[in-house]
Symmetry: C2
């Protein structure tokens, strides 16, 4: 078995998800750091690995690639305690991962990118009111769910928690106030107390 | 066993995915038609089923709900020929389903909504140039992949094809020209020739 390679930007929440799970599974891996702001993921060499030009990209065998952060999480987690054993709970984990990519990341991660990674007076700041409105809707859905449970699926930490933790805990970087969401904050603390937890580097 | 209920809008691609799979699996189901444009999915009665206020919503047992179209597809398809048997192929199916929800649906489905479901001079038509740019990028990624395969995963029709077919075949409704994508068009014809295929109603 060759050691898998992860092409990623360490400060990206989508890339951090993969690193956190690999650390918690105690997998060996090689991390290839790419700064997407340089355009490197739009160059032909990278597009030959992922035609959609995004990180993280997992090279699970030399020359064979898997992309989309949450699909990589499922691939790595199958057979471990991070992926539920029961059919309904697997579907619930996927439900929260699709929620994350459709209703959460496009607002909470993008607000963080604009606030923390672009120059202070960048024109994209005009997008922030809409991003905050939609991002707060996502946080409210999470708050309601977590009022009745310690984790997102069943009563166990899973890759659904990893997927949602990545950008939620850093929502303040994008101007969100998490003080309004006590159940979300308590869940963040529970995630951070898991064995072999590693922090995400700052933006 | 009670008969599952699907709350959905028939002309929505996300809802159609669930109907198509249920027909192909020959499952019994009850369809509850909702027109999201009336605001019904933002009313308290519906939010008690899905706090995120979206369709499709599957009531798999009375009072128990599963949401997110692609998570519902996995739940229904597990154990059938529509869900791959091998770990890597399951991850590849999920990769394409996350691609669909993140890099495809927000452009191709939204352009269709604006062109086919809003009044002709609606202000949101100003979004179309960006939606077309991003949607064409997604179609180009699909074209490249389908140049080397009959379906998205392995050589078999799966829920990855159902997820991507829903809005791709109707991309013309949003002003996309599929003539540029011969491999995509050939794949559309292969999907439509599958046993128990049913068409999506017009927008």
């Amino acid at each position: 078995m060759s050691i898998p390679r992860v092409y990623g930007m360490s400060s990206s929440g989508n890339c951090y998800k993969v690193r956190l799970l690999m650390e918690q599974l105690q997998l060996e891996y090689e991390w290839i750091e790419l700064d997407v702001r340089t355009g490197v993921t739009r160059q032909p060499e990278f597009l030959s690995k992922n035609p959609n030009g995004r990180v993280p990209t997992l090279e699970y065998e030399p020359g064979r690639y898997l992309v989309e952060s949450d699909a990589i999480l499922v691939y790595l987690a199958e057979g471990s305690g991070f992926w539920p054993q029961h059919r309904l709970e697997r579907a619930q984990a996927l439900q929260w991962m699709f929620f994350e990519q459709y209703s959460h990341e496009p607002y909470i991660a993008v607000a963080r990118f604009i606030c923390a990674m672009l120059p202070a007076q960048h024109a994209r700041r005009g997008e922030l009111p809409r991003l905050h409105e939609r991002g707060y809707q996502a946080l409210a859905v999470m708050e309601q769910h977590l009022a009745h449970g310690r984790f997102f699926v069943g009563d166990a930490y899973s890759i659904a928690d990893i997927a949602l933790y990545a950008y939620t805990h850093a929502a303040g970087d994008g101007g969100f106030d998490l003080q309004r969401f006590p159940a979300v904050r308590a869940w963040i603390a529970r995630v951070e107390s898991q064995p072999r937890f590693v922090q995400m580097p700052p933006a």
